[in-house]
């Protein structure tokens, strides 16, 4: 299946992916409306000592988050791990178990994670289409 891959070699650490992610999942009609909002993106640029790369859900084949979910809120559909916010009780077991730190609390009290922009209006990953240097790609692994 197609997954998001980060290419450290080309990542500039510009953080545009974080803003594109936050906008894609905000439901807002223009990015300008993010003004004054502290964004909480599902993708995050790790950086240290001049090295950058963007980390988002790996959509693991044997995901620890799904195994650990106590309510069945996390499920795999066609390889993509989705979150059902109706079922989530916010126990944060998934956050503790994700080895990549790619699940985080959402403003709504439950958790959020990358769903490859399949559940928002973008349809395909906004971080990938907005990356200026092809440092994030969406391709068959």
């Amino acid at each position: 299946m197609k997954r998001i891959y980060a290419r450290e070699e080309w990542c500039l650490g510009c953080h545009l992916c974080e803003y594109n992610c936050a906008f894609a999942n905000s439901g807002l009609d223009t990015m300008t409306k993010l003004k004054g909002i502290k964004i909480n993106p599902r993708i995050q640029v790790e950086e240290n000592d001049g090295i950058f790369y963007a980390v988002s859900c790996r959509h693991c084949e044997e995901p620890l988050c799904v195994k650990g979910c106590i309510t069945g809120a996390l499920s795999i559909k066609d390889g993509v791990i989705h979150i059902n916010k109706e079922k989530c009780v916010g126990c944060f077991t998934c956050i503790l178990s994700c080895p990549y730190g790619c699940i985080m609390p959402a403003e709504t009290g439950v958790i959020q994670k990358c769903e490859l922009c399949q559940t928002n209006s973008k349809g395909s990953p906004a971080c990938v289409s907005g990356c200026p240097n092809r440092a994030i790609v969406f391709e068959e692994g």
Partner: protein, 501 residues
């Protein structure tokens, strides 16, 4: 401040309603123009550092930025313009030579824009390139003057070495050092995909790029940086660089700060040492001397590769070209005064040399008159901006063109003309690793391939319109051109009629 103060040329206009303070502009500006002020909770800009490269503008996700030329003014004066006055201030303050980058930006005539192309009507039908074959392939090199037969009566098909181009376009010489590793790689990959050639410039050939050798022209300049047997044997052709359009008559100087790591190894000089290319080749003071170098290169490579001699377009270009055509060289490349550079003294760049259109027309005419046009192919560069310029150049007598600035634009260059600062925000004219990585050669090569394909389509359309189905049939076909707004002398030099004639 005080007497040395020069008001910044550009102003950064930020639409505060749109700015979301994502700080992309701050992270992307190597000139450190943008800054997030924590106390104010908003972005600020120091426009005195802005070079107007548009990196921030291009990456701003909310289109909150634009750069405008300042309207701060001296008392208007057609003779003493603000630019002229500021240059005097700068020189009075520093005592230094003014440096500039890229091509001559002054308001001289652009002859390409005063030449119009013909089209067929009624009596000689145009050709539709989408329906009928159209040949853009061309060969560069010495052409035999007559047909010879072998003892068995068959044609002698042994030609002097030729370069085969799928389209009459090559990427100009830009050295590794003046441009980045990723820029070089983009050019190399694109040249291979397109079936054309790129040129190493005078900085040698990085070991990673030997694999693109069959699409590489290796340059031998006055500094002889990076020239060795392996280098010569790897390239498809050699170019002896006698001059450069942006700075005819002077050499080059790549500062020691740029001679780091790979650049130092490729140039075969110590790290931190300035790379100084002398103004002349110290072993070439005559056509006879040039001939010796041409033949030493041929001898070293079994006469299998063509030799190009590159000169800047200067006043006596036709006579010089005539000498070169007799020196044994296979191809003459002429660089017009609008040709680009990574750094040149401003006065030289803006005041020395002549337009490529006039140089090309007079060289082609002179070589024809002397019956030696077949001795050499002619390649021209120095501001070929689009496919129409190429069609006009070929009709004026060129065999192919070199594109440098256009290629850099395809790679992201925004012509801020600050290459000499070494802080290119687009990852082209810089050696800073964090900036070099901004140019992903995958994207760069794709964009170069797109550009040349687009131009190829347009060239075919224009050829078809003229009722011509091959580049070869357009070469030197000046009847396909007419001048507009040119005086008698200009028309005479260009060898074309005025529109309406």
């Amino acid at each position: 401040m005080g007497i040395n103060y020069v008001y910044p040329d550009y102003e950064v206009i930020r639409n505060i309603d749109r700015c979301i303070a994502c700080r992309v502009c701050e992270r992307q500006c190597a000139n450190e123009v943008h800054h997030y002020d924590k106390e104010l909770g908003k972005m600020t800009a120091d426009e005195s550092k802005c070079v107007n490269c548009h990196r921030c503008v291009s990456l701003c996700p909310t289109r909150a930025l634009k750069i405008v030329k300042t309207d701060h003014t001296f008392k208007p004066n057609a003779n003493w313009t603000g630019e002229t006055i500021n240059e005097v201030y700068r020189q009075a303050g520093t005592g230094g030579v003014l440096l500039s980058s890229m091509g001559n930006p002054k308001n001289y005539p652009i002859y390409w824009d005063k030449i119009l192309i013909n089209a067929s009507q009624v009596t000689n039908p145009p050709i539709d390139p989408l329906r009928e074959p159209m040949e853009t392939r061309t060969f560069l090199g010495k052409k035999p003057l007559d047909i010879k037969r072998n003892a068995d009566g068959c044609f002698d098909t042994n030609l002097p070495p030729q370069l085969e181009l799928s389209v009459p376009i090559m990427f100009s010489a830009m050295s590794l050092g003046s441009i980045s590793y990723n820029a070089h790689k983009s050019l190399a990959v694109a040249a291979e995909k397109l079936g054309i050639f790129y040129n190493t410039g005078e900085g040698g050939l990085h070991e990673d790029f030997y694999q693109y050798g069959k699409n590489t022209i290796v340059q031998i300049a006055s500094g002889r940086f990076g020239v060795h047997k392996g280098y010569l044997n790897t390239g498809a052709a050699f170019e002896i660089k006698m001059g450069q359009g942006a700075k005819p008559g002077i050499g080059g100087h790549l500062p020691g700060t740029k001679i780091v790591g790979d650049i130092s190894r490729t140039r075969m000089i110590p790290e931190g040492a300035d790379a100084i290319s002398p103004a002349p080749h110290h072993d070439i003071y005559s056509i006879e001397d040039l001939r010796q170098l041409v033949f030493s290169l041929k001898e070293a490579t079994d006469y299998k590769k063509p030799v190009i001699v590159k000169i800047a377009a200067v006043h006596n270009v036709a006579a010089i070209a005539s000498g070169i055509a007799r020196s044994g060289a296979d191809i003459i490349s002429i660089d017009g005064y609008r040709g680009g550079t990574g750094a040149a003294p401003t006065r030289i760049r803006d005041s020395v040399g002549i337009p490529i259109e006039l140089a090309l027309a007079s060289v082609d005419e002179r070589l024809r008159q002397e019956g030696i046009r077949g001795n050499v192919s002619i390649v021209v560069g120095g501001s070929i901006r689009n496919s129409a310029d190429i069609v006009k150049a070929i009709a004026l007598g060129a065999d192919a063109v070199y594109i440098g600035t256009s290629a850099l634009l395809a790679l992201g260059c925004h012509l801020c003309r600050s290459c000499h600062d070494g802080k290119c925000n687009w990852g082209i004219a810089t050696q800073r690793p964090d900036l070099v990585k901004r140019l992903n050669p995958e994207i760069g090569a794709e964009r170069l391939v797109n550009l040349v394909h687009a131009w190829e389509h347009e060239i075919k359309e224009m050829l078809g319109g003229m009722g011509i189905n091959s580049i070869e049939a357009l070469k030197g076909n000046r009847l396909m051109l007419r001048g507009i707004g040119l005086n008698q002398k200009e028309l005479e030099i260009l060898g074309i009629k005025h529109a309406g004639e």
